[in-house]
Symmetry: C2
Subunit: 197 residues, 2 copies
Protein backbone atom coordinates (compact mmCIF):
# COMPACT_ATOMS: atom_id res chain seq x y z
CA UNK A 1 0.00 0.00 0.00
CA UNK A 2 1.34 3.38 -1.01
CA UNK A 3 0.67 6.43 1.13
CA UNK A 4 -1.73 8.97 -0.35
CA UNK A 5 0.60 11.83 0.31
CA UNK A 6 3.38 10.14 -1.65
CA UNK A 7 1.08 9.67 -4.57
CA UNK A 8 0.07 13.30 -4.30
CA UNK A 9 3.72 14.33 -4.67
CA UNK A 10 4.05 12.42 -7.90
CA UNK A 11 0.74 13.68 -9.18
CA UNK A 12 1.57 17.29 -8.65
CA UNK A 13 4.95 16.81 -10.32
CA UNK A 14 3.22 15.43 -13.37
CA UNK A 15 0.56 18.12 -13.34
CA UNK A 16 3.30 20.70 -13.63
CA UNK A 17 3.67 19.39 -17.19
CA UNK A 18 0.11 18.58 -18.24
CA UNK A 19 -3.38 18.67 -16.81
CA UNK A 20 -4.91 15.22 -16.48
CA UNK A 21 -8.43 14.00 -15.96
CA UNK A 22 -9.05 11.57 -13.12
CA UNK A 23 -9.39 8.75 -15.67
CA UNK A 24 -6.09 9.58 -17.32
CA UNK A 25 -4.34 9.75 -13.97
CA UNK A 26 -5.78 6.41 -12.96
CA UNK A 27 -4.02 4.77 -15.89
CA UNK A 28 -0.71 5.24 -14.13
CA UNK A 29 -1.76 4.18 -10.65
CA UNK A 30 -1.58 0.40 -10.98
CA UNK A 31 2.03 0.60 -12.17
CA UNK A 32 3.34 2.44 -9.13
CA UNK A 33 5.64 0.91 -6.58
CA UNK A 34 7.24 2.27 -3.46
CA UNK A 35 10.95 1.87 -3.02
CA UNK A 36 13.34 2.61 -0.20
CA UNK A 37 17.09 3.05 -0.55
CA UNK A 38 19.68 3.30 2.18
CA UNK A 39 22.52 5.76 2.00
CA UNK A 40 25.12 4.56 -0.50
CA UNK A 41 22.84 1.98 -2.03
CA UNK A 42 22.64 1.76 -5.83
CA UNK A 43 19.26 1.89 -7.49
CA UNK A 44 20.37 1.30 -11.07
CA UNK A 45 23.66 -0.31 -12.00
CA UNK A 46 25.74 0.17 -15.07
CA UNK A 47 25.14 -2.54 -17.65
CA UNK A 48 21.76 -3.36 -16.24
CA UNK A 49 18.56 -3.11 -18.18
CA UNK A 50 15.90 -2.74 -15.58
CA UNK A 51 14.14 0.30 -16.87
CA UNK A 52 12.16 2.00 -14.21
CA UNK A 53 11.59 5.66 -13.71
CA UNK A 54 10.49 7.33 -10.58
CA UNK A 55 10.28 10.39 -8.47
CA UNK A 56 12.33 11.20 -5.40
CA UNK A 57 10.01 11.64 -2.43
CA UNK A 58 12.81 12.38 -0.01
CA UNK A 59 16.58 12.28 0.08
CA UNK A 60 19.02 12.90 -2.72
CA UNK A 61 20.78 10.88 -5.34
CA UNK A 62 23.38 11.19 -8.04
CA UNK A 63 24.07 9.40 -11.26
CA UNK A 64 27.45 8.78 -12.83
CA UNK A 65 29.27 7.16 -15.69
CA UNK A 66 32.14 4.83 -14.96
CA UNK A 67 35.07 5.03 -17.34
CA UNK A 68 38.49 3.50 -16.80
CA UNK A 69 37.47 2.92 -13.21
CA UNK A 70 36.79 6.60 -12.59
CA UNK A 71 33.34 7.86 -11.76
CA UNK A 72 31.97 10.92 -13.53
CA UNK A 73 28.95 12.42 -11.88
CA UNK A 74 26.63 14.05 -14.34
CA UNK A 75 23.53 14.72 -12.32
CA UNK A 76 22.11 15.16 -8.83
CA UNK A 77 18.53 14.42 -7.94
CA UNK A 78 16.58 16.00 -5.09
CA UNK A 79 13.05 15.89 -3.73
CA UNK A 80 10.36 16.01 -6.41
CA UNK A 81 12.78 15.26 -9.24
CA UNK A 82 12.12 12.56 -11.77
CA UNK A 83 14.88 10.01 -11.71
CA UNK A 84 15.83 7.14 -13.96
CA UNK A 85 18.11 5.94 -16.68
CA UNK A 86 16.03 7.79 -19.22
CA UNK A 87 18.38 7.36 -22.15
CA UNK A 88 18.70 3.66 -21.50
CA UNK A 89 14.92 3.35 -21.40
CA UNK A 90 14.54 5.34 -24.62
CA UNK A 91 17.14 3.42 -26.54
CA UNK A 92 16.29 0.14 -24.88
CA UNK A 93 19.95 -0.54 -24.24
CA UNK A 94 21.70 -1.38 -20.99
CA UNK A 95 22.27 1.62 -18.79
CA UNK A 96 25.63 3.33 -19.02
CA UNK A 97 24.81 5.02 -15.76
CA UNK A 98 24.78 4.05 -12.16
CA UNK A 99 22.27 5.80 -9.95
CA UNK A 100 23.10 5.88 -6.29
CA UNK A 101 21.49 7.19 -3.11
CA UNK A 102 23.57 9.84 -1.36
CA UNK A 103 21.28 9.74 1.64
CA UNK A 104 18.45 7.45 2.62
CA UNK A 105 15.86 7.88 -0.10
CA UNK A 106 12.20 7.23 -0.62
CA UNK A 107 11.09 6.73 -4.21
CA UNK A 108 7.90 6.14 -6.10
CA UNK A 109 8.64 4.21 -9.28
CA UNK A 110 6.98 2.76 -12.36
CA UNK A 111 8.29 0.86 -15.41
CA UNK A 112 9.21 3.07 -18.32
CA UNK A 113 7.41 0.58 -20.55
CA UNK A 114 4.20 1.41 -18.75
CA UNK A 115 4.65 5.06 -19.59
CA UNK A 116 5.22 4.12 -23.21
CA UNK A 117 2.03 2.16 -23.16
CA UNK A 118 0.25 5.26 -21.91
CA UNK A 119 1.70 7.18 -24.86
CA UNK A 120 -0.23 4.82 -27.11
CA UNK A 121 -3.38 4.98 -25.08
CA UNK A 122 -3.83 8.61 -24.22
CA UNK A 123 -2.75 11.73 -26.11
CA UNK A 124 -2.43 13.62 -22.84
CA UNK A 125 0.19 11.20 -21.69
CA UNK A 126 1.98 11.48 -24.99
CA UNK A 127 2.04 15.21 -24.43
CA UNK A 128 3.53 14.62 -21.04
CA UNK A 129 6.19 12.50 -22.74
CA UNK A 130 6.95 15.27 -25.18
CA UNK A 131 7.22 17.92 -22.51
CA UNK A 132 9.37 15.70 -20.34
CA UNK A 133 11.78 15.07 -23.20
CA UNK A 134 11.84 18.76 -24.06
CA UNK A 135 12.50 19.66 -20.45
CA UNK A 136 15.36 17.21 -20.39
CA UNK A 137 16.78 18.50 -23.65
CA UNK A 138 16.80 22.05 -22.32
CA UNK A 139 18.66 20.96 -19.21
CA UNK A 140 21.19 18.94 -21.17
CA UNK A 141 21.79 21.74 -23.62
CA UNK A 142 22.55 24.14 -20.78
CA UNK A 143 24.85 21.68 -19.14
CA UNK A 144 26.71 21.04 -22.36
CA UNK A 145 27.03 24.70 -23.22
CA UNK A 146 28.38 25.33 -19.73
CA UNK A 147 31.03 22.66 -20.12
CA UNK A 148 32.09 24.01 -23.46
CA UNK A 149 32.05 27.73 -22.80
CA UNK A 150 33.14 28.07 -19.19
CA UNK A 151 36.20 27.07 -17.21
CA UNK A 152 35.75 25.08 -13.99
CA UNK A 153 36.57 28.25 -12.08
CA UNK A 154 33.61 29.96 -13.74
CA UNK A 155 31.30 26.99 -13.47
CA UNK A 156 31.66 26.65 -9.73
CA UNK A 157 30.21 30.03 -8.69
CA UNK A 158 27.55 29.59 -11.34
CA UNK A 159 26.55 26.34 -9.70
CA UNK A 160 26.55 27.90 -6.24
CA UNK A 161 24.43 30.86 -7.20
CA UNK A 162 22.09 28.86 -9.35
CA UNK A 163 18.66 27.72 -8.28
CA UNK A 164 20.02 24.93 -6.16
CA UNK A 165 22.47 26.50 -3.77
CA UNK A 166 20.60 25.47 -0.62
CA UNK A 167 20.47 21.90 -1.78
CA UNK A 168 24.06 21.69 -2.93
CA UNK A 169 25.15 22.55 0.56
CA UNK A 170 24.11 19.10 1.60
CA UNK A 171 26.33 17.40 -0.94
CA UNK A 172 29.94 16.50 -0.15
CA UNK A 173 32.38 18.66 -2.01
CA UNK A 174 34.12 15.86 -3.85
CA UNK A 175 30.89 14.99 -5.65
CA UNK A 176 30.53 18.60 -6.68
CA UNK A 177 34.08 18.61 -8.00
CA UNK A 178 33.23 15.50 -9.95
CA UNK A 179 30.15 17.17 -11.36
CA UNK A 180 32.23 20.14 -12.45
CA UNK A 181 34.58 17.76 -14.22
CA UNK A 182 37.57 18.32 -11.96
CA UNK A 183 39.27 16.63 -9.01
CA UNK A 184 38.47 17.47 -5.38
CA UNK A 185 42.00 18.84 -5.09
CA UNK A 186 41.43 21.33 -7.87
CA UNK A 187 38.09 22.42 -6.48
CA UNK A 188 39.71 23.10 -3.16
CA UNK A 189 42.26 25.35 -4.87
CA UNK A 190 39.58 27.11 -6.86
CA UNK A 191 37.65 27.81 -3.68
CA UNK A 192 40.77 29.25 -2.12
CA UNK A 193 41.44 31.46 -5.12
CA UNK A 194 37.88 32.73 -5.11
CA UNK A 195 38.04 33.54 -1.41
CA UNK A 196 41.16 35.64 -1.87
CA UNK A 197 39.28 37.98 -4.19
Amino acid sequence: MIADQDIAVLKSAILRFVPLTAEEWDLLLPALAYHHLSKGEKWINEGQKEQRMGIVLSGNMRHYYTRDGAEKTTYFYFENHFVGSYISALTNKPSQLTIEALTDCRLLTFPYAHLQMLYEKAPRWERFGRLLAEYLAIGLEERMAGLLTMSPEERYPELLHGNKQKILERIPQHYIANYLGITPVSLSRIRKRLLEK
Copy 2:
Protein backbone atom coordinates in the same frame (compact mmCIF):
# COMPACT_ATOMS: atom_id res chain seq x y z
CA MET B 1 6.87 27.33 -55.61
CA ILE B 2 8.81 24.59 -53.90
CA ALA B 3 10.24 21.68 -55.85
CA ASP B 4 8.54 18.34 -55.27
CA GLN B 5 11.81 16.59 -54.68
CA ASP B 6 12.73 19.02 -51.91
CA ILE B 7 9.42 18.38 -50.23
CA ALA B 8 10.02 14.67 -50.58
CA VAL B 9 13.29 15.02 -48.68
CA LEU B 10 11.56 16.67 -45.76
CA LYS B 11 8.74 14.18 -45.84
CA SER B 12 10.98 11.17 -45.70
CA ALA B 13 12.95 12.73 -42.83
CA ILE B 14 9.75 13.14 -40.86
CA LEU B 15 8.53 9.67 -41.77
CA ARG B 16 11.64 8.26 -40.17
CA PHE B 17 10.03 9.32 -36.89
CA VAL B 18 6.32 8.69 -37.45
CA PRO B 19 4.01 7.45 -40.17
CA LEU B 20 1.60 10.12 -41.38
CA THR B 21 -1.58 9.98 -43.39
CA ALA B 22 -1.84 12.25 -46.43
CA GLU B 23 -4.18 14.52 -44.48
CA GLU B 24 -1.78 14.83 -41.56
CA TRP B 25 1.10 15.58 -43.86
CA ASP B 26 -0.91 18.24 -45.66
CA LEU B 27 -1.24 20.17 -42.41
CA LEU B 28 2.41 21.09 -42.61
CA LEU B 29 2.57 21.95 -46.31
CA PRO B 30 1.19 25.52 -46.24
CA ALA B 31 3.80 26.55 -43.67
CA LEU B 32 6.81 25.55 -45.75
CA ALA B 33 9.21 28.02 -47.27
CA TYR B 34 12.32 27.59 -49.33
CA HIS B 35 15.47 29.35 -48.26
CA HIS B 36 18.87 29.74 -49.80
CA LEU B 37 22.02 30.70 -47.90
CA SER B 38 25.39 31.65 -49.32
CA LYS B 39 28.59 30.37 -47.78
CA GLY B 40 29.32 32.26 -44.58
CA GLU B 41 25.83 33.69 -44.31
CA LYS B 42 24.05 33.51 -40.97
CA TRP B 43 20.60 32.03 -40.82
CA ILE B 44 19.84 32.70 -37.16
CA ASN B 45 21.62 35.33 -35.12
CA GLU B 46 22.31 35.40 -31.42
CA GLY B 47 19.75 37.48 -29.56
CA GLN B 48 17.20 37.14 -32.26
CA LYS B 49 13.81 35.57 -31.79
CA GLU B 50 12.80 34.41 -35.22
CA GLN B 51 11.89 30.87 -34.49
CA ARG B 52 11.95 28.77 -37.58
CA MET B 53 13.03 25.22 -37.95
CA GLY B 54 14.00 23.51 -41.12
CA ILE B 55 15.81 20.78 -42.87
CA VAL B 56 19.07 21.01 -44.75
CA LEU B 57 18.50 20.00 -48.38
CA SER B 58 22.08 20.53 -49.37
CA GLY B 59 25.25 22.03 -47.93
CA ASN B 60 26.36 22.12 -44.33
CA MET B 61 26.03 24.43 -41.39
CA ARG B 62 27.24 24.87 -37.86
CA HIS B 63 25.83 26.54 -34.80
CA TYR B 64 27.80 28.22 -32.07
CA TYR B 65 27.58 30.19 -28.85
CA THR B 66 29.41 33.46 -28.54
CA ARG B 67 30.97 34.18 -25.18
CA ASP B 68 33.50 36.89 -24.43
CA GLY B 69 33.90 37.35 -28.14
CA ALA B 70 34.91 33.73 -28.66
CA GLU B 71 32.81 31.34 -30.70
CA LYS B 72 32.08 27.86 -29.41
CA THR B 73 30.77 25.49 -32.00
CA THR B 74 28.43 22.93 -30.56
CA TYR B 75 26.91 21.33 -33.61
CA PHE B 76 27.28 20.67 -37.32
CA TYR B 77 24.38 20.10 -39.66
CA PHE B 78 24.49 18.15 -42.92
CA GLU B 79 22.05 17.05 -45.60
CA ASN B 80 18.74 15.75 -44.24
CA HIS B 81 19.35 17.10 -40.75
CA PHE B 82 16.80 19.17 -38.94
CA VAL B 83 18.20 22.55 -38.07
CA GLY B 84 17.02 25.40 -35.87
CA SER B 85 17.38 27.14 -32.59
CA TYR B 86 15.29 24.46 -30.97
CA ILE B 87 15.90 25.49 -27.38
CA SER B 88 15.07 29.08 -28.15
CA ALA B 89 11.85 27.98 -29.79
CA LEU B 90 10.94 25.74 -26.85
CA THR B 91 11.63 28.33 -24.22
CA ASN B 92 10.40 31.20 -26.34
CA LYS B 93 13.47 33.21 -25.49
CA PRO B 94 15.95 34.90 -27.81
CA SER B 95 18.43 32.50 -29.32
CA GLN B 96 21.77 32.11 -27.60
CA LEU B 97 23.02 30.51 -30.76
CA THR B 98 24.11 31.69 -34.14
CA ILE B 99 23.54 29.32 -37.03
CA GLU B 100 25.76 29.82 -40.02
CA ALA B 101 26.17 28.29 -43.45
CA LEU B 102 29.60 26.71 -43.97
CA THR B 103 28.87 26.22 -47.64
CA ASP B 104 26.06 27.38 -49.86
CA CYS B 105 22.95 25.82 -48.41
CA ARG B 106 19.45 25.03 -49.47
CA LEU B 107 16.86 24.82 -46.70
CA LEU B 108 13.21 24.04 -46.34
CA THR B 109 11.82 25.84 -43.31
CA PHE B 110 8.66 26.34 -41.30
CA PRO B 111 7.82 28.33 -38.15
CA TYR B 112 8.21 26.39 -34.95
CA ALA B 113 4.88 27.87 -33.86
CA HIS B 114 3.23 26.06 -36.73
CA LEU B 115 4.60 22.77 -35.48
CA GLN B 116 3.27 23.57 -32.03
CA MET B 117 -0.10 24.21 -33.55
CA LEU B 118 0.07 20.78 -35.15
CA TYR B 119 0.79 19.31 -31.71
CA GLU B 120 -2.61 20.60 -30.65
CA LYS B 121 -4.36 19.47 -33.77
CA ALA B 122 -3.05 16.00 -34.44
CA PRO B 123 -1.77 13.36 -32.02
CA ARG B 124 0.49 11.97 -34.71
CA TRP B 125 2.28 15.28 -34.89
CA GLU B 126 2.55 15.39 -31.15
CA ARG B 127 4.19 12.01 -31.32
CA PHE B 128 6.61 13.39 -33.86
CA GLY B 129 7.35 16.17 -31.39
CA ARG B 130 8.01 13.70 -28.63
CA LEU B 131 10.30 11.55 -30.73
CA LEU B 132 12.15 14.58 -32.00
CA ALA B 133 12.78 15.82 -28.47
CA GLU B 134 13.84 12.34 -27.35
CA TYR B 135 16.19 12.05 -30.30
CA LEU B 136 17.70 15.38 -29.39
CA ALA B 137 18.03 14.45 -25.74
CA ILE B 138 19.90 11.27 -26.64
CA GLY B 139 22.33 13.23 -28.79
CA LEU B 140 22.89 15.87 -26.15
CA GLU B 141 23.44 13.30 -23.44
CA GLU B 142 26.11 11.59 -25.52
CA ARG B 143 27.78 14.83 -26.30
CA MET B 144 27.80 15.90 -22.67
CA ALA B 145 29.06 12.55 -21.44
CA GLY B 146 31.85 12.74 -24.01
CA LEU B 147 32.93 16.15 -22.82
CA LEU B 148 32.95 15.03 -19.22
CA THR B 149 34.54 11.62 -19.52
CA MET B 150 37.06 12.02 -22.34
CA SER B 151 40.05 14.25 -22.97
CA PRO B 152 40.27 16.17 -26.25
CA GLU B 153 42.90 13.70 -27.38
CA GLU B 154 40.39 10.89 -26.92
CA ARG B 155 37.47 12.80 -28.37
CA TYR B 156 39.17 13.53 -31.66
CA PRO B 157 39.64 9.94 -32.89
CA GLU B 158 36.17 9.15 -31.58
CA LEU B 159 34.79 11.89 -33.78
CA LEU B 160 36.77 10.72 -36.78
CA HIS B 161 35.71 7.12 -36.49
CA GLY B 162 32.13 7.92 -35.62
CA ASN B 163 29.28 7.82 -38.06
CA LYS B 164 30.24 11.06 -39.71
CA GLN B 165 33.82 10.69 -40.77
CA LYS B 166 33.12 11.15 -44.46
CA ILE B 167 31.25 14.34 -43.79
CA LEU B 168 33.71 15.79 -41.33
CA GLU B 169 36.35 15.63 -44.02
CA ARG B 170 34.59 18.51 -45.67
CA ILE B 171 34.81 20.72 -42.61
CA PRO B 172 37.81 22.97 -41.96
CA GLN B 173 39.92 21.75 -39.11
CA HIS B 174 39.59 24.85 -36.97
CA TYR B 175 35.85 24.32 -36.68
CA ILE B 176 36.46 20.77 -35.58
CA ALA B 177 38.90 21.99 -32.96
CA ASN B 178 36.25 24.38 -31.78
CA TYR B 179 33.72 21.59 -31.60
CA LEU B 180 36.13 19.54 -29.53
CA GLY B 181 36.47 22.48 -27.16
CA ILE B 182 40.10 23.26 -27.96
CA THR B 183 42.06 25.68 -30.13
CA PRO B 184 43.20 24.89 -33.68
CA VAL B 185 46.77 24.97 -32.42
CA SER B 186 46.09 22.25 -29.88
CA LEU B 187 44.28 20.10 -32.39
CA SER B 188 47.22 20.34 -34.70
CA ARG B 189 49.49 19.08 -31.92
CA ILE B 190 47.10 16.29 -31.01
CA ARG B 191 47.07 15.15 -34.62
CA LYS B 192 50.83 15.13 -34.65
CA ARG B 193 50.99 13.13 -31.44
CA LEU B 194 48.51 10.59 -32.78
CA LEU B 195 50.48 10.19 -35.99
CA GLU B 196 53.64 9.40 -34.10
CA LYS B 197 52.00 6.36 -32.58
